[in-house]
Amino acid sequence: MTAISVKNLSIVFGEEDNETKVLDAVSFDVEKGEVFGLVGESGSGKSTVLRCIAGLYTHWTGEIRIDGQPVGAQLTKERCRKIQMVFQDPYGSLHPKHTVQTTLAAPLRIHGIGDIDRRITEVLRDVGLAPHLRFRYPHQLSGGQRQRVAIARALILRPSILLLDEPTSALDVSVQAEVLNVLSDIRDREGLTYLLVSHDLAVIGHMCRRLAVMQQGLIEEVVDYADLSGGRAQQAYSRMLFDASHHYDRSMANDITAARQAGGGTIHGA
């Protein structure tokens, strides 16, 4: 079954004379229980796709279907219960003057869900945080603990889809490993669907079977990670992105410079 279906999603920012098309007819499908990756460089529009699906932007055009049902531009409570988002920087996404307890209780109150204490205990256990940490403020937690709280906040409404926007980019590699393991465990247990945005192809490769490569608001291709890592991607840009993540290579740098100058910013060709 298809959990997320995006068709011809476009969004434009700016005034009439100075319009920027940030997404240009983006289409892809994500199966239920799948971890689907979105990769691309800054400005490629990968986070914008998540923000449209999450309902943070409302002026998009095209079609977004969740579990087969089309969603409108406006955010409804039902949609919030189904789709939640985890942001890159937990310092920015957690209220600095609210304790973990207050942060986690807020969604439950808004949605009129009782049994708050038990649910918070459960969700803290799910993300591997000790129960006593619920009385801490964000600044009293380590980076890894903060990101776990952000994941717990997203999970507390028991959504079926998590939108993960660079969830481990701000973390050290050893802490990144812990958080990625937590995300894998939760998905295995609850059968969640993840849409994972990252600039780190190794992270994408670890989590996803399929991914979409984006460049300047367009999807270059949807490709199996095995094909991408095996050098069988269709688009030159995808192959280049993979190679560039792999290691430093002087001649590759020359190729990129040449391609940039020829293509006016975008990279195409064989």
Binding site: E41, S42, G143, D172, V173, S174, Q176, A177, E178, L180, N181, S184, H199, D200, L201, A202, V203, G205, H206, S229, M240, L241, F242, A244, S245, H246, H247, Y248, D249, R250, M252, A253, N254, I256, T257, R260, Q261, I267
Partner: protein, 292 residues
Amino acid sequence: MSSTPRASDAAAVQAPLIEARDLRVAFQMQRGVFQAIRGVSFSLGREKLAIVGESGSGKSTVGRAIMRLNPPSAIVTAERLTFKDVDLLSASKKELRRLRGRHISMIMQDPKYSLNPVATVGEQIAEAYRTHHKVSSREARERALTMLEAVQIRSPKRVYDLYPHQVSGGMGQRIMIAMMLISDPEVLIADEPTSALDVTVRLQILAILDDMVKERGLGMIFISHDLNLVRSFCDRVIIMYAGRIVETVAAADLDNVQHPYSRGLLNSLPRLDQKRDRLPVIQRDDSWLEAV
């Protein structure tokens, strides 16, 4: 770290540009003294030397200690901390000002925070040159334009008059490199110079640094958290943990590190070429905090 030189250290031993022996940096806190660097020894030749470690390992503090840029609350001690034959610990403020920028330069992670927001980037590069050389403003401008070209900025004249907020991250970092290399230093300390950049831009910036190091015979300290990157970019790698060096290896031997922390760090990294169900998490051992 063992003090016996190995084959990979040969370059460093021949002509050390920077030498640190038992370097210690402590910070005076409200409640006692915090030891950030606890006895670090290494030498830098005309090579690309990486210092890797996680946040808080002290890698940036080492870079700043060489430049003597630590805040006043820092207590820096060492058996030896030298640039060529200059003792960096006993150098006067005036002497340090002469060294900084002229002989030892530093590139920071984010150009947004290290460039002056109210001066054009060209003026800043020219100023870096005029600080150390008695030349006319016209000549400094010419030098700055040549340097912008050297870091592969396509229209130097246009970029010269831009303010930092008008340039992209990649261009900002090129400008920083131009500014740091205009006075032809011998040592370059690059503190996470490409961490804020996209992979393709990162590759281009590294190529520029690589060329500069080769052409000018610089010694470079490359501070990074990215093991995959230093493996292919640097000559030698120092791995730091909690203010100490746990291991120094040739970059080519990075996969054969011995120390359990280095091994743990490498294992916890998701790999591009192999799929694992779970990522091993580092099981930290208190003994790592003690002398190695």
